[in-house]
Symmetry: C2
C-alpha cells in the first residue's frame, strides 16, 4: 500500500548502505531520529468535515489525511513530526470528464474550493490546503486513467488525465507506442499533473518536455468546459495550451488529453563517461547538444555529486576499481560523470552512440561502457525511496532546480551550492550540496541540486532550517536571472519568486486569465500566484 508519510509503496525499502551512512555522518554529524508520528495519531488530528458526504465523496479521516499533502519538504516534515493539516473536507474520485464536471458543479453550489490531486507527488506544495474559511474538496483523478483512443497514423493518443506513468505506458505499449515521459516520480505522478506543472521527463531530449507532447486537452473549469488545442500547427492567435500548461489546477482540471506518442524503440542503452573536471564535462555536454546528436538523455554530475553518488550507491569494490582505473587514465581526484542515453532503432542507436562518444572522447571523456547505466536505468524511479532511509538515518534531503544558459551554468551552480552551505552554516550545521545537469537545450541546461543535512529532532527546528535553506537557494537562483523552476512548478514554495521571472505585467496577465475562467477563485486557490 502507498506510504501515508513518505515515498512510495510500503513494501519497498531501499536501504542506505552502512558505508554511506558512515560517510554522511562523517560529513554532517549524526542526526536525530525521533520516532515518527503514527497514522492513528495523525488521523486523530483530522477534525470533523464541514461537508456532508455527497455520493462518491469520502469524508473519512484517513482519506482526508492522505490527500492533505504532497512530497515537499514542508509536507514531509509535517507528516513525520505529526504536525499535519489543514485537511480537505472531502475526497472525490471522478472516473470521467462528466463525473469531474459534476463534482465541480456540486462544489461550486456548496461554496467549496477544489484541489486537484493526481499522484500526490508535488514537491512544491501544490496540494497544500490553505484555510480561507471555505470548505475544501480534493478531486483525486486516479480513477480516470484509461487509454480512450489511439490513432497510429497521426500518432496521437487520448488518455484519461489521472493515469500515472506505469498505467499510461502499459496501455500504450500494448499497441506498440510510448509517451516517453519519465520524471523520477513516474511511478505515481499523473498525466494531468505533468501537464499543469510543465513536467520534464528524464529523456526529454528524445521525447520532448510535456509541453512538446501535448496536442490538445479537455478541461473541466469552474463554470464551463474548455477544449483547448488539437491542431497540428496553427498561426491563428495565441496558443492557449500554453496557458493550461503550468496552470497548476487554477484554470480548471485537465480530464483528458491528446498526446503525441511514438513507437517503442528497439534499442536503449545508457553510456557512462568520466571527465577530469566540471569544465571539461560541461564543454562536452554543450558540444554534443550543439552538434545536434540525438541522444535521449544527457546528464553531467559535478565532482561533489559524482563522489557522493558513488559512495551512496555503496558499491565499494566497484568504486575502488573505478577510482584506480580513472586515476590510471590520469583523470585526477575530482572526476565528473556523464551519462548519455542512446535510444532508437539499431542503426540510429549505433550512429548516435558513435557521434556522441566521438565528441565526448575528443573532449577528454573516458568511456566505461553501459553497465553503470543499466543499473541506473533499473533503479531510475527507485532513487526516491532513498529519501525514506535517509530520514530514518537522521538526514533530511531536498532538491532545488533551475535552468540557465551555457554561459552562466557554472556561476549559477556555484551560487546555489554556496547559498545552501551558508544557510545551514548559520545554524552551525553543515550541508552536503551537489548538482547535475540533466536536460539540455540549445541555449543551456537544467541545473538540479540535492542538499542533505542532518535532522534537528523536532518539527520547528527542521522546518526553520529548511525554510532558511530554501529561501537562500531560491534567492541565489533569482539573483542569477534563472527560472525558479525547470521541472517542479510553482505551488506555494516558489510563488514568492514568480514575479521576478514573469514580471509584474506577466503576473497581471496570468491573474486576468485565471479570473476570467474562475471569478470566485475556487480552483486550487493560493497556488501559483
Amino acid at each position: 500500500m502507498r506510504r501515508w508519510n513518505g515515498w512510495g509503496d510500503d513494501t519497498i525499502d531501499k536501504a542506505l548502505p552502512a558505508a554511506a551512512r558512515a560517510f554522511l555522518e562523517s560529513r554532517l554529524g549524526r542526526g536525530d531520529t525521533p520516532i515518527d508520528a503514527s497514522l492513528d495519531s495523525a488521523c486523530a488530528q483530522v477534525p470533523a468535515s464541514r461537508l456532508n458526504a455527497e455520493p462518491g465523496w469520502d469524508v473519512s479521516a484517513e482519506a482526508r489525511l492522505r490527500h492533505a499533502h504532497g512530497q515537499s519538504f514542508a509536507d514531509w516534515a509535517a507528516v513525520r513530526h505529526g504536525d499535519v493539516g489543514p485537511f480537505p473536507d472531502a475526497v472525490a474520485t471522478p472516473a470521467t470528464h462528466a463525473d469531474t464536471r459534476a463534482v465541480l458543479d456540486r462544489a461550486r453550489a456548496l461554496g467549496a474550493v477544489v484541489i486537484p490531486y493526481g499522484g500526490g507527488t508535488s514537491v512544491v506544495g501544490h496540494l497544500k490546503v490553505i484555510d480561507d474559511g471555505r470548505p475544501v474538496v480534493c478531486v483525486d483523478m486516479s480513477h480516470n486513467a484509461r487509454l480512450l483512443d489511439l490513432n497510429p497514423r497521426d500518432r496521437i493518443a487520448r488518455i484519461g488525465a489521472g493515469a500515472p506513468g506505469p498505467v499510461l505506458e502499459a496501455q500504450l505499449r500494448a499497441h506498440g507506442f510510448v509517451l516517453g515521459h519519465y520524471p523520477q516520480s513516474f511511478d505515481y505522478s499523473t498525466l494531468g499533473g505533468w501537464i499543469v506543472t510543465r513536467s520534464a521527463g528524464q529523456q526529454s531530449r528524445r521525447y520532448g518536455r510535456i509541453e512538446d507532447l501535448l496536442h490538445g486537452a479537455r478541461l473541466a473549469c469552474a463554470g464551463s468546459d474548455f477544449d483547448v488545442g488539437g491542431q497540428v500547427a496553427s498561426s491563428a492567435g495565441p496558443d492557449l495550451r500554453q496557458l493550461v500548461l503550468g496552470s497548476e489546477g487554477r484554470l480548471g482540471i485537465v480530464t483528458e488529453a491528446d498526446m503525441h506518442v511514438c513507437p517503442v524503440a528497439d534499442h536503449e542503452a545508457f553510456h557512462t563517461l568520466f571527465f577530469a573536471d566540471w569544465d571539461a564535462a560541461l564543454a562536452a555536454a554543450r558540444s554534443i547538444t550543439h552538434a545536434g546528436v540525438a541522444v535521449s538523455m544527457l546528464r553531467v554530475s559535478n565532482a561533489e555529486e559524482t563522489d557522493t553518488q558513488l559512495r551512496i550507491a555503496g558499491h565499494e569494490s566497484a568504486i575502488a576499481w573505478l577510482r584506480s582505473y580513472l586515476g590510471w587514465r590520469r583523470l585526477g581526484d575530482r572526476p565528473c560523470m556523464m551519462m548519455l542515453g542512446v535510444t532508437g532503432d539499431r542503426a540510429l542507436a549505433r550512429r548516435i552512440r558513435r557521434d556522441a562518444l566521438g565528441i565526448a572522447r575528443a573532449a577528454g571523456g573516458v568511456h566505461i561502457g553501459t553497465r553503470m547505466g543499466a543499473i541506473w536505468a533499473k533503479n531510475r524511479f527507485a532513487g526516491a525511496y532513498l529519501r525514506n532511509s535517509l530520514w530514518d538515518a537522521g538526514f533530511a534531503v531536498d532538491t532545488m532546480e533551475t535552468a540557465v544558459p551555457w554561459s552562466r551554468t557554472t556561476a549559477a551552480m556555484s551560487a546555489m551550492q554556496q547559498a545552501a552551505h551558508a544557510a545551514l552554516n548559520r545554524y552551525d550545521e553543515r550541508a552536503l550540496a551537489f548538482a547535475h545537469l540533466s536536460h539540455v537545450y540549445a541555449a543551456g541546461s537544467s541545473l538540479y541540486m540535492t542538499v542533505i543535512w542532518r535532522r534537528g529532532g523536532d518539527y520547528a527546528t527542521d522546518i526553520e532550517r529548511w525554510r532558511s535553506l530554501k529561501a537562500a537557494v531560491s534567492q541565489a537562483i533569482v539573483g542569477a536571472g534563472a527560472t525558479i523552476s525547470h521541472q517542479h512548478g510553482v505551488g506555494v514554495d516558489h510563488a514568492p519568486y514568480l514575479a521576478p521571472e514573469k514580471s509584474e505585467t506577466g503576473i497581471d496577465l496570468i491573474r486576468a486569465a485565471l479570473a476570467e475562467l474562475d471569478p470566485d477563485g475556487m480552483m486550487n486557490p493560493h497556488k501559483l500566484c
Copy 2:
C-alpha cells in the same frame, strides 16, 4: 523602390511566359485588364490627417497611402482599382524601444489607436484601418532593425524587431550564424511581424517555426513595457511568450527579441522526386517524417500543382524531357512532385540524403537530382512577383492554407479544392486550384492551396467573387476541424473563423488578456478577435 500597389521592388518583374498565359486562358478564359489606378489618383483620395505632425511623424498623403494596406486580396483589389482607404492619420518610425514607448505614450494622450507595421506583407488584413472614430497612428518599425547582441556560446541573438529577413540574416551571417526563418515574404517581412503572426519559414523542419526560435522579447504595450520569456526552459507557470506569439499587435509592439540562432550550414541542396500519385507521395512524406529524418524541408505538390508549376515555369523543353522520362519510368500522367531540403555539415547532409531518398525511393519515388531544387532555391522569394504579372495578364490569385492530421490530409485538401471550384462556378467562372504540403509534423502537415481565377473588370466584381471564394474555402477548412491558418495569422479575414478553433471559452481568455494590457483597445483594434 517598393511598389505601392503590388509585390516587391518596382525594378523587378517576373514575366509570365507566353505558354503559361495561354494555358491559363485555355483553362479560365481571358480576364479583363482595366488600367490600374495611379499613385497620384490614389494620393488624391487621402483626406486631411486628423493629427498634427508630431516630431518624426509623417502625415503626407503618400506615406499614409503606402501604410494603409498589406497584401491581402482585399488590399490588392482596393489599391489596383483605386478604391483605397480608410488611411492612418500619421506614420511614425521609431528606431528603438524607447522611441516606440514615446510614440505609444503620445498616441494614447491623443486618444489615437495604433497599427504596428513591419514589412507590409500581411495577407489577411492585419494592417487595415478600420475607422471607429479615433485617429490612427501607423507605427512603421523598419528603422529598428539592428543586431543588438549576440552570444555565440548560448546561440542567442538580440535583434531589433523591425529587421526584415535580408537585413537580419546579413547581420547574423557576418558572425557565422543564421536564424533560418524563410517565409516566402522574407524580402520584406520582419522579425516582429513573424512573432506576432506565428510565422513558419520554408525550412521550419530544421530551424523550427518562429515560436520555436523565440527565446524572449521586449514589448511596448499601451500603458507599460513588458519583458517576456528569456528562460532556457521553465515549469514556472504559463509560458507568456505564447500569448505574445500570435497577438497580432494587440498586446503591444514587439521592439526587440532574443532569438535562437545557429551556425551557417556548410551544405545545402534541394532534391526533387516524382511519385505516380498523391497517395504514394503523401505516404512517403509521412514515412520520412515519422522516421525522424532531419530534412530541412519537405514539400509535396498534388497532381494539379505539379502540372501547373511545370507549365507556369515555362521550361517547355525541360518539361517535355521530364514527362517522357517520367512516362518511361511508368509514373503515368498525374505525377506528384516532392522536394526535400538537405542542410547541414557535409557528413550530416550525406546521411540525411541517404536516409530520406532511401525511404522515398522505397515508396515509389523517382529521384531526378538537385537541378530543379537549385532553381527553386534561387527563386524561392521571387515567386511572389508572379502575382504582379498574373494580375497584369487578367488573372487574380489568392492562397488559403491550414494544417491537418495525416489521417485527414487528402479529405481536407479535396474539400478545399471543391469549395474553391463551387464558389467560382456560382459566377459561371472556373478556378484553377492546386495544393501542396510544405511543413511536416509528427501528427500531420500543412496544406497550402493556390487559386487562380480571371479578373472581372471592376472592383465590385473582383471583391465579390473573392469574398465568396474565401468564405467557401474557410468554411471547408473549419468543417474539416482544421486550423483557419497554419502560417498567415488571423487579421480581419480569418477573425470570423477563430471561435470554432479556440472555442468561445478560448476567445474569452484571449480577450481577457488583451483587456488587461490594453483596457482602451488602442492597440491594433478590430483584428484577431
